[in-house]
């Protein structure tokens, strides 16, 4: 399932004194199965752009094609598009409303008018994908869940619609390190095992470095960088100029390189850093022994 965005522009509060443009002529595409990270300072237009992908906004200027289908087309079935492109909002736990977890997760499939047994199966699968045991949680009161569990339940609610593409909007915000790790594991398995295409919006450079193969960087409503994650994070000065930062590991490696360590560009994880630094130091030792 592919996504194409062409020359998209968007203004808020058109016709009021508060009118302002948040997207300026944005174009990019996402191929089936990709894991794309979307980063940028707050108010750069990330969420607005993402909400075009599941047709919550219809383009007035520009085009959005979901699997070839133009969302602005009058005949476009927006409801189906929204099932195919799932969207998990920031702090999604606030959208929970049903008496029990099971019922809330079933909301999406129920809107698709599927038979009861199929809905139950979808709910069960979705819950398993996020690590909420079906039998334990399906009848539990949503208000009896912890924050992290609520968030997972909200994500399951979107997964139950069997989306081919998932837009995840800052879903690790406010979570403790373990909670973040758990959610990131879920996201990883959704990408690798379920083959879901993922657009991952985040303010955490570390999260994005972990899983994204490609990065889109936005600033002031424009995409200013689009490329493999390692390459984008190599553009340190440009990123810092717009208020972003490198993943913590990369910051350290960057400093070491300025101090004379010959390390390859684009190190993004702790394990990579350890092996590269170790290799460099052992190498140096070896060469010094010979000389």
């Amino acid at each position: 399932m592919s996504i194409e965005v062409l020359n998209l522009s968007h203004s808020y509060k058109i016709g009021t004194p508060f009118e302002h443009k948040v997207l300026h002529d944005v174009s990019f595409s996402i191929a089936d199965g990709q894991f794309v990270g979307l980063i940028g300072p707050t108010r750069s237009g990330k969420t607005t752009l993402a909400q075009y992908l599941n047709a919550l906004y219809i383009p007035r200027k520009g085009k959005v094609l979901i699997d070839g289908e133009n969302t602005a087309d009058r005949r476009a079935d927006l409801v189906t598009i929204r099932h195919r492109v799932g969207y998990v909002f920031q702090n999604p736990e606030y959208q929970l409303f049903a008496p029990t977890v099971g019922e809330d997760i079933a909301f999406g499939p129920t809107n698709q008018n599927l038979p009861r047994e199929e809905i139950d199966k979808l709910v069960k699968n979705a819950m398993e994908m996020v690590g909420l045991d079906y039998e334990t949680f399906k009848t539990r009161d949503i208000f009896a869940l912890s924050g992290g569990q609520k968030r997972r339940a909200a994500i399951a609610g979107v997964l139950a619609c069997r989306p081919k593409v998932l837009v995840l909007d800052d879903i690790t915000a406010g979570l403790d390190p373990r909670g973040r790790e758990e959610i990131m594991d879920v996201v990883k398995s959704l990408h690798q095992q379920q083959n879901i295409t993922i657009l991952f919006i985040s303010n955490s450079m570390d999260d994005v470095a972990l899983l994204a193969e490609r990065l889109l960087v936005m600033d002031n409503g424009k995409i200013i960088m689009d490329g493999p994650t390692r390459e984008v994070f190599a553009r340190t000065e440009e990123l810092r100029a717009i208020g972003l930062e490198l993943p913590e590991v990369s910051i350290i490696v960057d400093r070491l390189r300025s101090a004379g360590f010959q390390l390859p560009a684009g190190i993004l994880t702790v394990d990579e850093a350890i092996s590269e630094i170790a290799a460099f130091l052992k190498d140096k030792e070896a060469r010094e022994q010979w000389s």
Partner: protein
């Protein structure tokens, strides 16, 4: 209890004695959020309180300015007990608080008016209010934004306004409850810098609740909470070092190590002589440079 190094004196701004707190106390839905907590906040320090969601850290923080009162035990702010309602007014002048969501803290539609809200509540004379507002704007570098509507500011800027609003009350201690949770990297950096500056230059005691390990390392001391009790306490070096030794402890409590510590530990395993208690990037880089030469 461990006392901080590098502080002028060991005066306790805040002290808890056998503090317990239960939600819906006395009913069958009672939830014990804090169990017999004994801790201090020393004057002049930056104290980090960490712990996974549900560990009780937010509940604990809300006892420091009397937003919550203990169901068992006592909380003293400069010797005044929060159990006595008459003390709460004074206590809130001593201990200010900044919350996670900037949108739900700001009262007014103009930045300088919102900052004045606190001093106005204190019944200060007009000239003094104006002085304090100017001072707070200046200290947090918000002068250019003074007549703006908070609505038009970024989340990071709004948080700075919230801090300015608390600062204008000239508290001795400011509690920051996960102030950077919803900010972008620049916003996080600016808020952390402000907190450190307020501590170092204005001498304000800071209590920082956070999940970000790269914020914790700038604190004098840290406390790790789990299940309503304090599980670990000490300087960040001490706590993380202990965590490394006991391998899983930190992770069991839902936390993580600073990246510099992780690299140090990994390189140690590879056989390099790396100091075991590294937590700052600087230390790691210096250490590695020494190994290189």
């Amino acid at each position: 209890m461990i006392e901080p190094q590098g502080c002028d004196n060991l005066e306790k701004t805040i002290e808890t004695k056998n503090l317990s707190y239960a939600y819906r106390s006395g009913t069958d839905k009672e939830v014990r959020a804090l169990r017999d907590v004994n801790m201090n906040v020393f004057k002049g320090e930056i104290l980090a309180i960490t712990g996974q969601n549900g560990s009780g850290k937010s509940t604990l923080a809300r006892h420091f300015n009397g937003l919550l009162t203990p169901t068992g035990g006592e909380v003293l702010v400069k010797g005044l007990s929060t159990n006595d309602k008459n003390n709460i007014g004074t206590i809130r002048k001593i201990v200010g608080m900044v919350f996670q969501n900037p949108d739900n803290q700001l009262v007014s539609s103009v930045v300088e008016e919102d900052i004045a809200f606190g001093p106005e509540n204190l019944g200060l004379p007009q000239a003094e209010i104006i002085d304090r507002v100017n001072w707070a704007l200046h200290t947090l570098k918000l002068e250019d934004l003074r007549r703006e509507s908070p609505h038009s500011l970024s989340a990071g800027q709004k948080q700075q306004v919230a801090i300015a609003g608390v600062l204008a009350m000239k508290p001795e201690c400011i509690i920051l409850d996960e102030p950077t949770a919803h900010l972008d990297p620049r916003g996080r950096r600016e808020v952390l810098e402000s907190a450190i500056r307020l501590n170092r230059e204005e001498g304000i005691t800071m209590v920082l609740l956070t999940h970000f390990m790269n914020e914790v390392i700038y604190c004098n001391r840290m406390i790790v909470m789990d299940g309503g009790t304090i599980k670990m306490e000490g300087t960040p070096k001490e706590v993380f070092h202990q965590g490394v030794k006991e391998s899983q402890t930190i992770k069991d409590m839902g936390l993580d190590f600073p990246v510099a510590s992780q690299l140090a530990a990994g390189l140690q395993e590879e056989g390099f002589t790396v100091s075991p208690d590294i937590i700052h990037n600087e230390e790691l880089i210096n250490n590695l440079c020494q190994l290189k030469s």
